[in-house]
């Protein structure tokens, strides 16, 4: 299986992205079964790879049979397979929500089987793009898949109609600028080394003596990827995009989209470019920007009244947290960053599915509208509560453990940067306490006042469920995962860390 799974993992989503729209165009019947089957198959491939890498070590895979640096290589270690599992897993939930969920009544009443097929195709394309980024070992190939995922994401965002189209357009401008900056940086690297393969780059860069050119390259690449990763202050596209997207899309992109870019940043800055002087400086800057992002995101989240917007700002804070980990660069910090990616992806996916669904069931998007929901839908709201507690970092949820790792790393890092990171992480928890407990208080301890309530306004109508079942299933499942990830933190860390430790060892060995 080891020699088949890598190919399947990147091929299946693209296959599906064409197959599902084709079926929709030809048969005019619903395409839900093939789409879900494909997502399940992709997840199975990702899990298989994860297990295989855990059991027998990393996998290098030469696409087309051409070994690197001439051909394009894929590289699967604990890090990439973990992110792949995360992407594929949350994609399954998103597909579930998209298939059965409120995508239809939310976006366009005139939804046809063809349109649904197209949207399913776009989701598969998005998954394919993200998995491509995760898998690739080639900096140009990374750009191509970055653009695939971006275009698919613009499509999915814009399918919300109205304001969502504007948000998608702004996202498109930011994303394209990001892509071009990145590509320009890759051009510099290519001019300096003549190669595009990450391993080859890492080997050849230390002997490059053009410091200014290398700095420009590193900065261009870092800025480009930081825009996609919504690193403060390059986060401008994020809030509207998350808020106006249709719920299944919002849940998916809020969970994994920016994180995959952060992963790419980690790969490039932490592994490939870390041997350069500019790389080290940029990593430092990343750390400080991460600190700023954590604080600014948290404060702005407190200032929001709309829940989805609050969640979006909280994402900016969380991305800052991840980049703090990337910036610190120690094995412990990377573990924390990764763990935070996983914890935040699960929790934020859960929250966006939930908040979007509740918004769509006409209860509004502000805290007032959520008053007393706990009594009406205890299970779903309990799940959302678990996710919120994970965002705050209450044990034993996953968010607690990621914060623990990051705090440990910031203490071992020491110095002003370490102290700033430490303080920022603590502060972000406190801010998260403020903005999430406000919601939880309304949910559990307050009774609905004049909040718009669809089920109460006319006696004859069927009561509208707080959260439609197709969204409740992902919400509850993700909350369970948040808890399990927390409790089984240690095996997870043992699993992912070893090959990263060798990676960082190489970095420190090569550092001047």
């Amino acid at each position: 299986m080891r020699d088949v799974l890598p190919g399947l993992l990147v091929a299946l989503p693209l296959l599906g992205a064409a197959l599902v729209p084709l079926l929709a165009a030809l048969s005019r019947r619903t395409t839900r079964v093939p789409a879900l089957a494909l997502h399940a198959a992709i997840l199975a491939a990702a899990l298989g790879l994860f297990g295989s890498v855990a059991a027998a070590g990393p996998i290098r895979y030469a696409v087309g049979g051409w070994p690197g640096p001439w051909g394009i290589e894929l590289w699967f270690d604990g890090l990439s397979t973990l992110i792949a599992v995360l992407v594929a897993g949350i994609a399954c939930f998103a597909a579930f929500a998209q298939t059965f969920g409120p995508g239809r009544d939310e976006a366009a009443p005139a939804s046809t089987p063809l349109r649904e097929g197209l949207l399913r195709g776009a989701l598969l394309l998005l998954v394919g793009g993200l998995l491509g980024i995760v898998a690739t070992r080639d900096v140009f190939n990374l750009f191509v898949f970055l653009e695939i995922s971006s275009l698919a994401a613009y499509t999915l965002v814009a399918s919300g109609g109205g304001r969502a189209t504007v948000a998608a357009f702004r996202y498109l401008l930011a994303g394209t600028a990001a892509g071009s900056l990145y590509l320009f940086g890759v051009g510099f690297l290519y001019a300096l080394t003549g190669t595009l393969n990450m391993d080859d780059l890492a080997a050849r860069l230390p002997s490059v003596e053009a410091d200014a050119a290398l700095t420009v390259a590193v900065v261009l690449i870092a800025v480009g990827l930081s825009i996609k990763a919504a690193l403060f202050p390059l986060h401008g596209w994020l809030p509207d995009t998350y808020v106006y997207s249709p719920t299944p899309t919002a849940g998916f992109i809020a969970a994994v989209m920016a994180k995959v870019s952060a992963y790419a940043l980690l790969r490039l800055l932490g592994e490939v470019l870390a041997g350069t002087a500019a790389g080290a400086v940029v990593l430092d800057i990343t750390l400080w920007l991460g600190v700023a992002g954590v604080v600014a995101g948290g404060i702005l989240a407190v200032a929001q009244r709309a829940i989805t917007r609050m969640l979006a700002w909280s994402s900016i804070s969380a991305m800052g947290m991840i980049l703090i980990g990337v910036g610190m660069g120690s094995a412990l910090a990377i573990t924390g960053a990764l763990f935070h990616m996983a914890a935040h992806a699960l929790a934020k996916g859960c929250l966006f599915f939930g908040a979007g669904g509740i918004r769509a069931s006409r209860r509004g998007d502000d805290v007032e509208g959520w008053a007393g929901l706990g009594a009406r839908a205890p299970w779903t709201l309990a799940a959302l509560t678990v996710a919120a507690l994970s965002m705050i970092g209450i044990p034993p949820t996953a968010g607690f453990f990621s914060k623990y790792y990051l705090l440990s790393a910031s203490i071992t890092t020491g110095g002003p940067a370490g102290i700033a990171a430490f303080a920022a992480i603590i502060l972000s928890s406190l801010l998260a306490t403020v903005y999430f407990l406000r919601v939880l208080e309304a949910v559990w301890f307050r009774t609905p006042g004049d909040a718009p309530d669809a089920s109460g306004d006319s006696a004859g109508r069927q009561p509208v469920p707080v959260l439609p079942r197709p969204l409740a299933v992902p919400v509850v499942a993700l909350a369970v995962l948040v808890l399990l990830t927390g409790i089984f933190a240690r095996p997870f860390e043992r699993h992912v860390l070893p090959d990263w430790e060798s990676g960082t060892a190489r970095i420190t060995a090569e550092a001047p």
Partner: protein
């Protein structure tokens, strides 16, 4: 070097236009200019003095010095496709935005969204 600087100039022109122009369609034109700048940069990296187009003619075994570097050309074919794809999708979005909000002026659009 001078050649590269033109790529830098085009890139700056494009990205500045994206940020500063008030009309979304013009932003899109600027975006295209920016993308072309990157392509110009890459293609200039492929150029070798005294070499010819990277297509094998008649004759003996090819030597590396005789032909332009084909790799950047290949990459830029892909980049051009990316560029046109993005533009196409963006134009689709613009048509939609225009029909919904009656303007493509950024400031007016934001006013209408408020």
């Amino acid at each position: 070097m001078t050649i590269y600087a033109f790529a830098a100039a085009l890139f700056t022109l494009g990205i500045a236009g994206m940020a500063l122009l008030p009309n979304l369609l013009r932003k899109l034109l600027a975006m295209n200019v920016m993308q072309v700048a990157v392509i110009v940069f890459f293609v200039s990296l492929a150029f070798k003095d005294g070499a010819t187009v990277p297509i094998l003619g008649q004759g003996g075994a090819p030597r590396a010095a005789e032909f332009m570097n084909p790799l950047p050309h290949t990459l830029m074919l892909t980049a051009i496709v990316v560029s046109v794809s993005t533009t196409g999708l963006a134009l689709g979005l613009l048509v939609r935005i225009r029909s919904r909000f009656r303007t493509l002026n950024e400031q007016r659009l934001l006013d209408r969204l408020r």
